[in-house]
Amino acid sequence: MAEDQQDTQERTTPLHEEHVALGANLTGFGGWLMPLRYTSDLAEHRAVREAAGLFDLSHMGEIHLEGAQAGAALDAALVGNASAIGVGRARYSMICAEDGAVLDDLIVYRLADEHFLVVANAGNAPRVAAELVARSAGFDTVVTDRSDETALVAVQGPRAEEIVASLTAAEDVDTVRGMKYYASAEATVAGIGVLVARTGYTGEDGFELFVPADRAVELWRALLAAGEPHGLVPAGLSARDSLRLEAGMPLYGNELDETTTPYEAGLGRVVKLDKTGPDGEPLPFVGRAALAARAQSAPARVLVGLRGEGRRPARAGHAVVQRGLDGAAGATVGHVTSGAPSPTLGFPVAMAYVTPEVSAEGTQLAVDVRGRAEPFVVVRLPFYKRS
């Protein structure tokens, strides 16, 4: 029954006392002490699918680039085409090493013509900030890591728009309600100036609100109170993980790391090998040569979705094997990167890297769950898509 030991060196977010007061079960994640669950993983998961959930994401990193060449600097630093992002819009992107390894997956927001916000994963944020500083040398831009002064809370679920709109200043309500997916705007919510983004990691509609750290508690309490009549509950990392898994979204450290390329992860579309500068010339970026070579050849392994035919869930690290005669385990063909019983679908789901030969939809495989071959079948991602 051993739980992860709580490391006293772990950092806490501006909302830590709120989590403790709510009776959260806390866990270490990316160097932070975060709420794993408040009451029940399943109840929190279902609340997000059916009503709304409130998440503290203040462990994420917020790195700002400002200046005339902020976009050009990001074009050179990331695999995507940041300068093509419209003001008020956002894109999913990645930062890679020279050899094409994924250092982190990111969301890039263009807040103004000469102002970008890069949101990085908690454990990677210091490194991403350092890389962005290094890669921006020679560009007319200033890179500022504002992670410490910025808190981030997410309201996710079908009732999210109602809840956020109910707290939004009258003059901003139309902006918030009319906001498209992967758009952002400044707005006054609960009397606090925040950056509202229609983004998320749950497969539901929802908003992420960037708020000054010293106003985070105020915003959190206002959202909890306004959301309660709509069925909103605070939700922890456990629900966040099962929600994103159902939605087929990769988690850095599981589906993505320095040993994976975007192509293996099925995310080759975010790599803009042929992006060009203002002069129309091909634009070099860190990792381009290695990624161009990878794009030419079929990847040695492919990220797939697996649906369990039994009840036992597969977990990260379990071997994916061929299904032998009489249900015995055959040769190893891959490994599970994430796995859980799907609360929404009622059967085990997993993501796994497998060899291309066994990656076709419908391929019958098995996962070695502690010595027993449990039947799984390859399915299309995502497992869950909101209707």
């Binding site: 079960n25 794993l36 029940s40 009840r311 869930p313």
Partner: protein, 122 residues
Amino acid sequence: MADFPENLRYSAEHEWVDDASPATIGVTSVAADALGDVVYLELPEVGATIEAGAVVGEIESTKSVSELYSPVSGTVVEVNQAAVDDPAVVNSDPFGAGWLFKVDVTSRGELLTAEEYAAQAG
């Protein structure tokens, strides 16, 4: 920390056992809370001979897997099929409807009183 029923005895691995014959065995509220929502139970088979302190099954939650130890030695005479079918009962009523299996006891392991268990688990 929650109160633990006085009439039960407890193992350091968070199982409880009553003093009836056959004895009923389950996991404590501490275990249930630490695991999170239980979604899958692997219990010993009826007729199996089990040893105190040995692994006899698994409890799987949304987030993790734990081994189930038997606090007693003997022969399994019944398993809680209702809990296998709907493992959420282990969370909602770990000392009652969420019991796991019953054993004809030949000997008991080193067990704790409710007070001793509370001191250790708290």
